[in-house]
């Protein structure tokens, strides 16, 4: 800056040099914070993957009779009486007992 471009503001003595020190420290803190975040993400990804696999396993290994019951209930919604009877025979072990109802 030339003489004309000098700024007429008050500035504490030695401010620029002090601010360089403070700002380098602030950038180092930001770097450390980002590194910690990076580590957290590196831990979080496998943890999340493990959790997702566990949830999938629970869904997949859902007790078989629960799934049959749900399927049957869904079909019952719209089925006629004859069809209901036929479907019942497929999933109930003692069909002859059911026919007496």
């Amino acid at each position: 800056m030339n003489e004309m471009k000098q700024m007429p503001y008050r500035v504490p003595d030695g401010f620029i040099e002090m601010s360089k020190i403070r700002n380098r420290a602030a950038v180092r803190r930001a770097a450390t914070g980002r590194e910690r975040l990076g580590k957290a993400v590196r831990w979080a990804v496998p943890a999340f993957a493990t959790l997702a696999v566990a949830i999938c396993a629970v869904i997949y290994f859902e007790p078989e009779h629960d799934r049959d019951m749900k399927r049957l209930m869904a079909q019952m919604e719209t089925a006629s009486d004859d069809v209901i009877y036929e479907m019942s025979l497929e999933v109930v072990d003692y069909a002859e007992d059911l026919s007496q109802l």
Partner: protein
């Protein structure tokens, strides 16, 4: 080593992503004074400028991956853009209504300036800065970047988000207004 070469070296270090921490040591050394004054001319108050300067370096560090260099802009332009945005954001927080324009702060900035004048300041520099502080923000930014920071209009256009012709027009209007108030200064 002159400043332009050093800027190019630092930009290269950032683009290579080899040693970002070392690059930022150099950036802080090279740009602290320039950016401080750029921010100070926007927000006027020293404490605000000090905080925003630090935010500028930290933000730049955290967004270093976003620096592309080359045709997308120089390192100087990239840093000035971050500093300008943070300065404007700080001013937005100062104004009263959400919908009131940022130029509604002109009076307050002018009052702040009167309290920030150095007792040893040159009288003409005070008159000039008093006129600059009173400019609308778009004109003020362009004027400061051109007159004080001596940046090319292409760079100013990228920093302020104005078209090249708007930047030149705003500079022209700014100079006219300042000349009215400070007729003895050759701009």
């Amino acid at each position: 080593m002159n400043e332009k070469l050093r800027e190019a070296d630092v930009a290269e270090m950032l683009l290579n992503g080899e040693d970002t921490a070392r690059a930022f040591d150099a950036i802080i050394e090279l740009y602290s004074e320039r950016l401080y004054w750029h921010i100070r001319r926007i927000v006027v108050l020293h404490e605000d400028a000090e905080d925003i300067l630090q935010d500028t370096f930290v933000t730049a560090y955290l967004k270093a991956d976003g620096f592309r260099g080359g045709k997308e802009g120089s390192l100087t332009g990239w840093l000035y853009k971050i500093a300008t945005n943070l300065g404007i954001r700080a001013l937005r927080r100062r104004k009263r209504g959400i919908f009131s324009p940022i130029d509604s702060l002109c009076g307050r900035l002018a009052a702040d300036f009167e309290g920030e004048i150095s007792p040893t300041a040159d009288e003409i520099a005070v008159k000039l800065q008093r006129a600059v502080v009173g400019l609308p923000m778009k004109q003020k930014l362009v004027f400061n970047l051109r007159y004080y920071d001596e940046l090319p209009f292409e760079e100013i256009s990228k920093i302020t988000g104005q078209s090249l012709s708007s930047a030149k027009t705003n500079y022209h209007y700014a100079v006219q207004k300042i000349k009215k108030e400070v007729s003895q200064i050759e701009l």
